[in-house]
Symmetry: C2
């Protein structure tokens, strides 16, 4: 069993409308199904890690209201520790996403809102006893505080055998600079496109100059699979493993990251790790939500 993982980032409520088709603008349709889910990248990472068998904790800010009650119960259900979360009072709004899942192709279209909940603060993060974690994974956001948080994690990792990873996902400036603090960097297709890197290999090449010596760069690219690079290994690849039918791609990227971390924690090779990431993400998109990966047979 690999060691405990700490995921730092956002928890939000996803209101997921599963639709017969992606709506045309100004149209009116009835969904096939409406689901409330606990969402947010770091929160989803925890769900997948837990389903795969890792012990994990979520660290983030949450307002103390009914949405938190819902999310907390769901964290508990998946056996995810939330004891380090910073609880804000109910005058703050819970971040919320409305998501349209097109049942024909599994596409997920996300509209996110976060009215007033602040980003996680370094002061709060510094109170967490990091010695219990083998891996600290941080969702990248443009925030001065996140630089401080990554520095704290990096300092901790330099003393004790802990891996620090960061996810750079959004099409925004100010994220690239976060790569310097981590030994594993996940970059998304959107993030790559924002920097003018038009394919997986260009993304790896482009990132190389922004990371620590010896760092691992991992770049999933939807149905083209994923690539990863570390100087002592070189470039490795994995194909994607699409399921018989693509049902729901919401959280597929979060699944890839969590499964890759899970694999790396077990000291598999870099190639094996991204291969397991792609297989698990492939299983996930074959079903609604994440529970489909509980059944190991779905991970092809």
């Amino acid at each position: 069993m690999p060691g405990r993982v700490l995921c730092v980032g956002l928890c939000c409520i996803d209101i997921v409308q599963i639709c017969k088709e992606f709506p045309g603008e100004d149209s009116d349709q009835r969904s096939i199904e409406c689901q409330w889910r606990r969402g947010g990248n770091a929160s989803n990472n925890c769900t997948v890690l837990s389903l795969l068998g890792a012990e994990c904790s979520f660290f983030g800010n949450v307002p103390d209201n009914l949405f938190w009650k819902f999310a907390k119960e769901n964290f508990d259900f998946y056996n995810i520790d939330t004891s380090h979360c910073v609880i804000y009072d109910g005058s703050y709004e819970f971040p919320l996403s409305t998501v349209i899942v097109n049942s024909q192709n599994g596409s997920r279209t996300i509209i996110h809102s976060n009215k007033n909940l602040p980003d996680v603060r370094a002061d709060d993060f510094s109170k967490v006893d990091l010695s219990q974690f083998s891996w600290i994974h941080i969702e990248g956001r443009k925030s001065e505080e996140l630089h401080k948080i990554l520095k704290i994690a990096q300092n901790h990792a330099s003393c004790i055998e802990t891996t620090v990873s960061v996810e750079l996902e959004k099409k925004r400036d100010g994220l690239l600079e976060l790569a310097q603090y981590a030994s594993v960097i996940f970059i998304s297709k959107d993030f790559a496109a924002h920097h003018g890197w038009l394919d997986m290999c260009a993304a790896i090449e482009g990132m190389k100059q922004h990371v620590q010596k010896g760092a691992t760069i991992i770049c999933p690219w939807g149905d083209l699979g994923a690539v990863a690079y570390r100087s002592d290994v070189g470039l490795v690849r994995s194909p994607s493993y699409p399921p018989p039918e693509v049902v729901d791609t919401l959280g597929a990227g979060d699944t890839f990251i969590a499964a890759t971390i899970f694999s790396l924690l077990k000291n598999t090779s870099l190639q094996q790790a991204i291969d397991f990431g792609c297989r698990t993400a492939g299983a996930k998109v074959g079903g609604k939500g994440f529970d489909v990966i509980k059944d190991k047979q779905n991970i092809s």
Copy 2:
């Protein structure tokens, strides 16, 4: 002050995401603003009637949960009576719509979900003391119960001076048959298109054979304004009254209907009534929500 209006139909929660642009499929964006609103056609009709100065009641089924608490407080705020509503227990889900408003053109894209809340039942409707109402407006749905409800309303109206109106809005079979019970019939562009009526005048012509003798047919058509027909008046028209900037079209059709009813209650001419309907709907789309019509100066 015109007499009291009863609006029969749906109350739902609208989660409105106001966006910089209408999303492309599989994209990811942050909204400008997220609002929770009480919605549903009949529920919106009441809001507009009340803002214009009419006394009104909403009749519909509602599950007794936190969404009802939210909706009830909002009904109370707008001085809308809900004492006749049928309260279902919390095991029923509150109908919910996620709505995308494109801030560039005010378009509203609606995805509606109603998991298990039943349609209104004639038995429940028969318990309402209809003698207090001058107008009974019913949102058309395909339901055997709604035929019975419209018959009850029609019987009542034949004894006492009360107007019964029905809205036929959705692109569905089984609504056309409801027109026979009402003396005022509102038909939407979508409903007309569903029956192959390609413009306002074709819609009026097409409807004529499905209504009572002497009934009024009213058909709004977005930025082309509206037409109405009654045999003793003939066909009358109104242009639309677009505001300087179209901000939010969610509920524009509901506004037109409510304002037209409000005007007809005051015994204005049919032409004046649809003109007031168009002016009020024009004012509404110039602002977020309905409060913009409170200021009579906005109704051009």
